[in-house]
């Protein structure tokens, strides 16, 4: 290991300060806000609800629709509103990260709609969005096999680094975001860009899993915060 020091003083395997809150939006059936450092994601869930047009309905299961958007003011340079190729791809991988955790077969013909908005961006927006969406789905009472957690990791100099910031993204040898269902030890999102040997891929994934396990505890606390008082 090299002695790479992070600008914000974190240990290599340390997350940025995490805040998670469930039930932050009034009108949604389920909602959550997740921030990791300066990255802030809000997610709303509606449904299960009727799906129109009818020909999109599936008689055997609910369909899951996800939309990821960056607010125009979320980055230093204004983000042009409307879908971009990036946001379409992230919406797709977000849906595919969440769907394995859901019992969609319980709600034939309906839709479950997930909307993720990034209010402030400093790297790791797709993973913050997935963490928030997973909480919002639980908050909406959607049946789940377990919570979905997500985080990115990378490698700077010779050090594996968890939860990259925007500045760190500039110098990392790779950016590898995962989504992970801790209960099942299953990966539901795996992406990477970079240039590293297979051994590094494995080690970075292992580091990201550790991050996910910590985030899972944060998610549990956030849901307990809203709902456990109902348990008396």
């Amino acid at each position: 290991m090299s002695n790479f020091k992070r600008a914000d003083g974190r240990a290599a395997d340390e997350l940025r300060p995490v805040t998670m809150k469930v039930g932050v939006l009034k009108k949604a059936d389920g909602s959550a806000m997740v921030s990791l450092g300066d990255t802030v994601a809000v997610a709303a869930v509606y449904g299960p609800r009727e799906l129109y047009p009818k020909h999109l309905q599936n008689n055997e299961r609910a369909i899951l629709q996800c939309n990821y958007t960056m607010a125009p003011f979320s980055t230093k340079e204004r983000v042009r509103p409307g879908p971009s190729r990036r946001s379409v791809e992230i919406s797709k991988v977000t849906r595919e990260a969440l769907e394995p955790a859901l019992f969609l077969e319980e709600f034939p013909r309906s839709t479950i709609d997930v909307y993720v908005v990034i209010l402030q961006a400093n790297a790791g927006t797709r993973t913050a969005g997935i963490n928030a969406a997973s909480l919002a789905l639980a908050d909406a009472g959607i049946p789940m096999r377990g919570l979905v957690t997500a985080i990115a990791a990378g490698k700077i100099e010779d050090t594996y680094v968890l939860d990259l910031t925007g500045d760190e993204e500039e110098i990392t040898a790779c950016d590898l975001p995962i989504a992970y269902i801790p209960r099942e030890k299953k990966f539901t999102l795996i992406q990477m860009d970079g240039d590293i040997p297979p051994e590094d891929v494995k080690n970075i994934i292992k580091l990201a899993v550790k991050g996910c396990e910590t985030l899972h505890e944060h998610q549990r606390k956030a849901l307990l915060g809203k709902w456990s008082k109902e348990g008396s």
């Binding site: 059936d29 389920g30 449904g47 299960p48 609800r49 009727e50 008689n59 055997e60 955790a101 019992f103 319980e106 709600f107 034939p108 013909r109 309906s110 639980a138 908050d139 909406a140 009472g141 959607i142 049946p143 789940m144 096999r145 377990g146 919570l147 269902i181 801790p182 209960r183 099942e184 549990r220 849901l223 307990l224 709902w227 456990s228 008082k229 109902e230 348990g231 008396s232």
Partner: protein, 232 residues
Amino acid sequence: MGILKKERDFVLPGDKIVESLDYLPGKNCFRDGNSIYSKRVGLVSFKGRVIEVIPLTGMYIPEPGDMIIGEIKDVQFSGWAVDINSPYQAFLPLSGVREFIDPAKMDLSKVYGIGELIYAKVTSVGPSKGVNLSMRDPSARKFKNGRIIKITPVKVPRVIGKKGSMINLIKERTACRIYVGQNGVIWLQGENEPLAAKAIKMIEEMSHIEGLTNYIENLLKNEGKIKGQVMK
């Protein structure tokens, strides 16, 4: 191995409730390997060998036998389409009404017109959630006036109380007629409607508070005295 949660323990999606093949997963639970897990945010309930989770949040999903309050949305040739505050629209067929109707000779909207409210029984739910209703239950009726309030469907049991204790208390103290639909729609009528509505909303919001019955009893006693001046 063994039983990890006890009656009324708070659980989250993916939480293990028992690790044993002696139990069966009931509502809102699933088996994975030797263990039974919760699908939803809720409270554990043991029913003999069957484990259920009573959800704390979520949509109304119809089940046969439920009494619901619905709104007529469409008059069709062979019956009525009914909104039941659920992802699934219900259907009230001609065979489900008490009167004999010959659709060739009679205007169905004279029986139930669009916008009218009914208290009806769910008779069947098909595999893809086709929902049929009936008005042949003795308690079924059409509402001609009065008002409705909507509450979170999972809170309906709290509003009803043990063996109807809570709702009877409200009926008694406010002299209102009240019908509670399992789908979270509540109809009420009577001089002291605002007070009854306030009590119901309070139960929804404070369902987790200990001694809720006493609290509601006090509310009804104090505010019930100032007839006609009840605050909303």
